[in-house]
Subunit: 400 residues, 2 copies
């Protein structure tokens, strides 16, 4: 939700959707800049603001939005009714700032819909069992929308943002990037966690778990966006791959990563576990892990961590040098992780080979490789990021 | 509640009060300008905004205030907990925009107080029995405070504003106006309804009904303000008057008034009732009513109405001219009502005479007179307002 004008646009769209014969529930976020304004006030007042009160504060942003949107819809001659998180009610645990939804009582919403009203719900907020206001954290409004769609067994949940869908890769990295018409939740999860910014992983997980079909669309245009469907893997995915020939659905990249290598670690039982234990204890998010086959009883272990945690991780590993008796620890912060994702990979051997071959021919040096059932990730030098994305995009004909 | 700085002032005062050994509950209003900002947004969007959604919108103002004040108190090292209207809970009827409080469940507040927390409550807002957000209308935050004080059986309820108490008259009209130390709710009700702006009549009525002692103080100074006490009339008032010699407590004036006179109304049963019936039906607030003794079977009837309703009232009366067969209807918009109020009047004969005598000697022409047990109101020409106030103030030695 942006300005007053944008609220009026949302109202027109909601009314048009109702006039097309649908029951309409709109879940809204705060107006643009409102959350920042409120946090600025809090930071003027408090050096260490209490999470509970920050939630009370931030929840007003969506409350203003629902009231204004309900007024805008009424102004167009339709009935509208707003609901706050505690009125719906969206019951969450008590973890302020990143609460998890537990149950939703959709019956007041269903009653309003039966009466013919367009329902407007405050996203991002809930209430714990003691009646405290909670908020769901980053991407919380999308999550509220998906959860409401699940509770209401809605046909689909439209997620509006300033982009018109999900692309085969970041159009800033490759102009040939193409909008994806349809993608599975599973693939979307890999893309979301790898850096695609349209949908938060939490929302997609929720959609997958409760069978909600998502439609990612632009607030600024009427065109179709991208459909994210909760189909289960297996036959359907294979058929789709076979019929359409699309083995890879998209290329994601994550440039906020660093590679750490521990050289000549003595290959003893428990040595690798001992290496990662302090990192886990310090909440450092270790991603790709590669261990070479041992040579002369020693091995190199490489792994990636978020770039912001790299120095801390290196320090923790260095503390272990005397105990574990490895030779050295290196850190390369100028790396990126580029991944090809596609449910079709399951049924197609040789996909990884095709990726490595294409990268090799383009002169991209692969530093680390990690694969799963539906993705291939390569850590490359940061300067090769765009090239790697383009080469993989071409190799799997994603522009077609 | 004004700026961030003002919130911090309130926090310091709350902490100081707790450290002086009290349980502290703070009821807050919205930050300065916030309500206007929200209404401006609503008016940009809606030509006829629905009351229910306006309440949802406006209630955010107090919600922001409670969160920020709780953070400011915590920043000073004390525990603080905020409560919204529906959390307290302040149960009201369902009349959006001017809801009436029905019950308050003070137990969550009492628990927080027992724990040692300073409790911060959103004023102005409540919740109806169906869970809809309601607001209490003008002066609603004061009313919330008085109601909470009643529910908690508090020692006193401090009402903060930008003035430091209740004055014997408006200091802008007479520089000799003196701050009143102590005034009864009954007297305050007469002063409030007559134009004193410190306390809304609703709050005083509530305080009287539930025996809450009010202390009207300035947000900007530490000094004592004025105490408004719920003592019942009768002996105590008489004793106070007798002991202190203070017959009159204050002089109020209302300049937003107009006088309407119906000339030569035939004096028949039901004629006066017929005159006022359409005014009542149109929600016109008729105040002082005077009917002269009939002469030749006819009488003049004069009354006052709020100046903004005068034209409408005249039009309604004129419609009756054919039916009631009076000669003419006049309207004088340049009048003011000046009133002397004091519980001591009950026990002192001759107070009215003293007032009329003083006004007469000063050359103030009295247009209408209306008296009750504890007040004398005179309608005078508007140009005589300040003079009348000063003369009455002097006549009852209020400057001493």
């Amino acid at each position: 939700m942006g300005s007053v004008e944008r609220i009026q646009n949302v109202a027109r769209r909601a009314v048009a959707t109702q006039q097309a014969g649908h029951h309409v529930v709109v879940v809204v976020s705060a107006m643009a800049g409102e959350t920042d304004r409120l946090l600025r006030l809090a930071n003027e007042i408090s050096t260490k603001p209490a999470d509970r009160e920050i939630d009370v504060l931030l929840a007003t942003g969506e409350q203003v939005s629902i009231a204004l949107l309900a007024l805008a819809i009424a102004e167009l001659g339709c009935e509208a009714q707003s609901f706050l998180g505690h009125q719906v009610q969206i019951l969450t645990d008590g973890v302020h700032g990143s609460a998890r939804i537990q149950t939703i009582d959709a019956s007041p919403v269903e009653q309003a819909l039966q009466r013919g009203a367009i329902v407007v719900i405050a996203g991002f907020q809930g209430v714990d069992e003691r009646g405290n206001i909670t908020t769901l954290g980053r991407g919380g409004s999308d999550l509220s929308a998906v959860a409401m769609a699940a509770a209401l067994k809605a046909d689909s949940c439209e997620i509006y943002s300033d982009v018109d869908g999900i692309y085969t890769t970041d159009p800033n990295l490759y102009a040939k990037a193409r909008k994806i018409e349809r993608i599975s939740c599973e693939e979307m999860l890999e893309l979301a966690s790898l850096g695609a910014k349209v949908l938060q992983a939490r929302s997609v997980e929720f959609a997958l778990k409760f069978g909600v079909t998502l439609h990612c669309r632009s607030s600024f245009s009427q065109g179709e966006g991208s459909w994210v469907v909760p189909e289960t893997h297996g036959e359907e995915g294979m058929q789709r791959a076979g019929m359409e020939g699309a083995v890879v659905t998209g290329i994601a990249c994550d440039r906020q990563t660093a590679k750490i290598t521990v050289q000549n670690l003595p290959d003893r039982p428990g040595a690798v576990a001992a290496l990662f234990q302090p990192l886990a204890a310090d909440q450092i998010n270790v991603d790709v892990i590669i261990q070479n086959a041992p040579r002369d009883g020693r091995t190199d272990v490489s792994f990636t961590v978020p770039r912001a945690q790299a120095d801390r991780a290196v320090a923790l590993v260095r503390d272990l040098q005397a105990t574990l008796r490895f030779d050295a620890v290196d850190c390369d912060k100028l790396v990126a992780k580029v991944s090809a994702v596609g449910a079709g990979m399951r049924s197609q051997p040789g996909v990884a080979l095709r990726a490595f071959d294409a990268l090799g021919k383009a002169g991209v040096n692969i530093l680390l490789i990690s694969t799963s059932e539906i993705k291939i990730s390569c850590v490359v030098e940061d300067r090769h990021t765009a090239l790697a994305v383009q080469v993989l995009h071409d190799a799997f004909s994603l522009e077609k």
